[in-house]
């Protein structure tokens, strides 16, 4: 598992390295909005994924411990997942509105 995460990190670093070392254009202007948009989407997706994973893990554990409380847990899980997903959608919408 640790080896897999190292491979994944190396591949991610290489993906960043390729455009970072590319030859610049004659204009020399950097599109910071596009760069920050990419980072913000990556951060939002990662944190939303973590939050959804934690919510599902907690709900599944609670359901296994107390199956009688299923309606309440299921309702809270659905609402939680929808609201967490909407946070990533907010970021995506802002990026589409700002990046030309």
């Amino acid at each position: 598992m640790r080896q897999l995460s190292r491979i994944f990190m190396t591949v991610s670093a290489l993906c960043f390295a390729v455009p970072a070392f590319a030859q610049g254009g004659t204009g020399g202007e950097t599109n910071w909005v596009a760069i920050t948009a990419g980072f913000s989407m990556a951060i939002a997706s990662a944190v939303c994924g973590l939050a959804q994973g934690k919510a599902v893990a907690s709900a599944t554990e609670s359901l296994a411990r107390n199956p009688a409380a299923r309606p309440g847990i299921q309702f809270a899980l659905i609402l939680g997942l929808v609201l967490i997903e909407s946070l990533a959608l907010y970021t995506l919408a802002i990026i589409f509105l700002k990046v030309k």
């Binding site: 599902v56 359901l63 299923r70 309440g72 309702f75 659905i78 609201l83 959608l89 919408a93």
Partner: protein, 141 residues
């Protein structure tokens, strides 16, 4: 402060919340699409309607996915395959991506409407929250 709502009645009230959210999504989607048509024109309204349809399908598939997950966790109901549950979760994102790509390549003007339509569940949940607060206040007074 005493609670006048009896326990089974309150259980029934909160158990119907998901159905109320679903109905609110349909009503809000229709009404806001009509309003968008009148204010912004046909293409943004169609984009908004498409966003609403995707958001509704997303919500329904999320609900059935969570239900399948709960069935597996509690060993009750009809046993659904894990692959089916995961496929349903992933299919939501595929649908969203395809719709955004089609809109972006064919009608870029209606992309903002599409994004606005995707926030339909948030609006419906906010309406449901207001309704629950209002019902709680009126029943206690």
């Amino acid at each position: 402060m005493t609670n006048d709502i009896s326990q089974p009645e309150s259980d029934r009230f909160y158990a119907g919340a998901l159905d109320r959210i679903r109905i609110l999504m349909i009503v809000l989607g229709g009404a806001l699409s009509l309003a968008a048509w009148l204010i912004f024109g046909m293409r943004p309204a169609l984009g908004f309607l498409l966003g609403c349809v995707i958001a509704y399908l997303n919500f329904q598939w999320l609900k059935s996915g969570v239900s399948g997950l709960a069935d597996r966790a509690t060993n009750s109901g009809k046993a659904q395959s894990g692959k089916g549950i995961i496929a349903r979760f992933l299919l939501r994102y595929v649908l969203l991506g395809v719709a955004a790509y089609v809109i972006l390549t064919s009608f870029p003007a209606s992309l903002r409407g599409l994004f606005a339509g995707l926030f339909l569940p948030v609006g419906a949940i906010a309406c449901e929250a207001v309704y629950e607060v209002f019902t709680g206040i009126t029943r206690k007074s």
